[in-house]
């Protein structure tokens, strides 16, 4: 198991998160110490000031003992047992702040040595409350005098807490804002990748041929490589498709010759050779159309106007079924376009019109309607139609209802497969004309 996340955004985010936390924690700690020093300095300044004023108020009485001029015991040294105390210790002298009353506070550890300035010590008050003590030992008129002044510990911690709360809150807000910023940056920075995924999906589903659009300079080489790959792939596909087609068509002329020669020499009388030729032909045609379907590009690459294609087909079928004198009716808006390659649309129309013309008595009606994003093409005839079971049977590849009428083989299954490959559908039903109604839905082109 590795601690490094698999996703790029995970990596970027976790590193950013760690750095932000470390930076803000360091900032918080530094601020805490700065504030602590500041508050401590304030308290110490006050205590030192008190020591200084007491020292200034020391007098030697005419009897040689030490006395203290009245000292300003202003707040906070006037409050009883509030932790703000002072005392003066010298041989024969024990003076204390009024706030101590009859109580005393003690220093933890040894008493400080002589120093020009007060030093810090810890102490405990009458109620065992922790105290910060400043004390100074000095000589006064050849006497060793020790003055200590205390402040309650919470006088340091209170203001510090008060100052640190908004600071901490600010840091948390800053952390959140930075995280948000990083998240946004990662999203924004990685967007070309998700865009690329979408673009590739469009290519895969056939809605685009290549990856287009402006790309950030870091992604552009990758896109260029991908496009080259796609182009090469398309080229190979086209080449393979052409080879299959050439192979099939190359086989068909000799096959035709073979068939004609066998016919000529009366070898068909055998009864076994003709089906073999037919099977070869059927297999070639089957795999040719399979190869074409397999190499199908996809819907959005093409836009084919429906009405002219139908008109071309009807022109051809009019000639093909000239003896039947069929009436073809077209009811298609001229602006309907199908997102389908012309060749594939031709296959669909050809197969369906061929069937309709074959079975129609007099009329074949071709219509098309837009249904949402799709176009439904309907081809109806007034022939005998198909029963429900027959309609299922003709959809099975290679199944023929009427073996003597060629062309009912895999035309319809191929039609269905083509329609489905384009995201459409193919259904057979009963026409109001009395015959078959073949309906193909295909995606409309804008």
């Amino acid at each position: 198991m590795t601690l490094i996340p698999r996703s790029l955004s995970g990596r970027l985010l976790s590193v950013a998160l760690a750095l932000i936390l470390v930076a803000l924690l360091a900032a918080g700690v530094a601020m805490y110490f700065a504030l602590h020093r500041f508050v401590q300095g304030q308290v110490d300044g006050r205590l030192d000031g008190q020591i200084l004023s007491i020292r200034d108020a020391l007098r030697v009485t005419p009897d040689g003992s030490l006395s203290l001029d009245p000292v300003a015991n202003g707040p906070p040294f006037d409050r009883q047992h509030a932790g703000w105390y002072w005392k003066v210790m010298a041989p024969g002298v024990d003076l204390r702040s009024p706030s101590l009353g009859s109580d005393d506070f003690s220093l933890v550890g040894p008493l400080p040595e002589y120093r020009p300035k007060p030093v810090t010590a810890d102490g405990t008050g009458p109620g065992d409350e922790p105290l910060r003590v400043r004390a100074q030992r000095f000589r006064f008129e050849d006497r060793s005098v020790f003055i200590s002044s205390s402040a309650p510990r919470h006088a340091l911690e209170g203001p510090l807490r008060e100052a640190m709360t908004p600071v901490a809150l600010t840091l948390v807000v800053l952390a959140l804002a930075l995280m948000g910023g990083v998240l946004l940056q990662v999203r924004l920075g990685l967007r070309p990748l998700s865009q690329l995924t979408e673009d590739l999906q469009r290519v895969r589903t056939g809605r685009a041929e290549r990856i287009s659009g402006a790309q950030p300079s870091e992604v552009a080489p990758l896109v260029a490589e991908l496009n080259t790959l796609l182009d090469q792939n398309a080229l190979n596909l086209e080449r393979a498709r052409r080879h299959v087609a050439n192979l099939a068509h190359g086989l068909k002329t000799p096959l035709a010759t073979l068939a004609v020669i066998m016919d000529e020499r009366g070898w068909y009388a055998d009864g076994r050779l003709r089906p073999l030729v037919m099977t070869m032909d059927r297999r070639i045609r089957h795999h040719l159309s399979r190869a074409r379907l397999a190499a199908l590009g996809g819907p959005e690459r093409a836009r084919t106007l429906l009405a002219p294609r139908v008109a071309d087909h009807i022109g051809a079928f009019g000639k093909l079924f000239a003896d039947k004198g069929l009436i073809y009716e077209i009811d298609i808006a001229t602006d309907i376009a199908i997102a389908c390659e012309a060749q594939d649309l031709d296959e669909l129309l050809g197969n369906l019109l061929d069937n309709a013309s074959k079975w129609a008595r007099r009329r074949v009606v071709v219509g098309a309607d837009r249904v949402g994003p799709m176009v439904e093409i309907t081809i109806e005839d007034d022939g005998p139609g198909l029963s429900d079971q027959q309609a299922v049977d003709v959809m099975r590849a290679g199944h023929r209802l009427d073996e003597s009428a060629p062309g009912y083989g895999f035309g319809l299954p191929i039609t269905r497969e083509l329609a489905e490959l384009y995201g459409g559908a193919f259904a057979l039903g009963r026409s109001e004309l009395g015959g078959l109604r073949a309906g193909v839905t295909l995606p409309a082109a804008g």
Binding site: T253, A259, V260, K319, A322
Partner: protein
């Protein structure tokens, strides 16, 4: 009936040619698009069998050239490609019918007979002129309901007259439809054949229109 066969595959062209001749057709063969186009432009044919995949000039181009030059001869396309796009393309270029390789020879013969019949303006496959009937599907003549046995030359002349029944057909037109392009032609031979036909079907049915040609008619004047 004279057919132009444009097919580059020699084996197939020979086989089709033999099969068509066996059915009394007169067949000229061109083995590339250029020659095919030239023959179609300069000779008279009742129909053409045109392969689409031809060397030099492809079948569709040949067809377009014929149509834009006003050549109306019915054309049966042979193609190895059975996609509808190619068929429709062929029809748009002016084809009248198509067959996908491999095909049955009977199919080629039947389609050609139907094309020639339709081009001559006959909607139904049975053409009747007095006691003579011609089944354009089978290519068989009958006289008063009984099969009429004809030699190839007789069949060619009679089918030519039958398809244009009640119209005068120039002797030259008949001559062109009776012999292969490279055959030694005797200008009197049509008269000889007509005389033989008259003996078989009765003298009144084929009229000689002096200076113009012959006319097959149900109501002899």
């Amino acid at each position: 009936m004279k057919i132009l066969l444009v097919e580059d595959d020699h084996l197939l062209a020979d086989a089709i040619g033999r099969a068509l001749r066996a059915e009394n057709f007169v067949v000229d063969v061109a083995s590339n698009g250029e020659d095919g186009q030239h023959l179609g432009d300069t000779e008279t044919y009742d129909a053409a069998v045109l392969d689409l995949g031809l060397p030099k000039v492809n079948g569709v181009a040949v067809l377009r050239a014929w149509r834009s030059a006003g050549r109306k001869l019915p054309v049966l396309i042979l193609t190895a490609r059975d996609g509808w796009s190619e068929k429709v393309e062929g029809f748009k270029a002016g084809a009248d019918d198509y067959l996908v390789k491999p095909f049955r020879m009977e199919e080629v013969v039947m389609r050609l007979r139907a094309l020639v019949r339709r081009a001559a303006g006959h909607a139904a496959p049975l053409i009747v002129c007095g006691p003579i009937a011609y089944d354009a599907q089978l290519g068989a003549f009958s006289l008063e309901g009984l099969p009429l046995r004809l030699t190839a030359l007789e069949w060619r002349v009679l089918s030519c007259l039958m398809l244009r029944k009640e119209h005068v057909v120039a002797r030259r037109d008949i001559l062109e439809r009776v012999y292969d392009g490279d055959a030694e032609v005797d200008s009197n031979s049509v008269e000889v054949i007509v005389a033989r036909l008259r003996r078989k079907i009765g003298h009144g049915l084929i009229e000689t229109v002096r200076g113009l040609g012959y006319r097959l008619t149900a109501e002899p004047s």
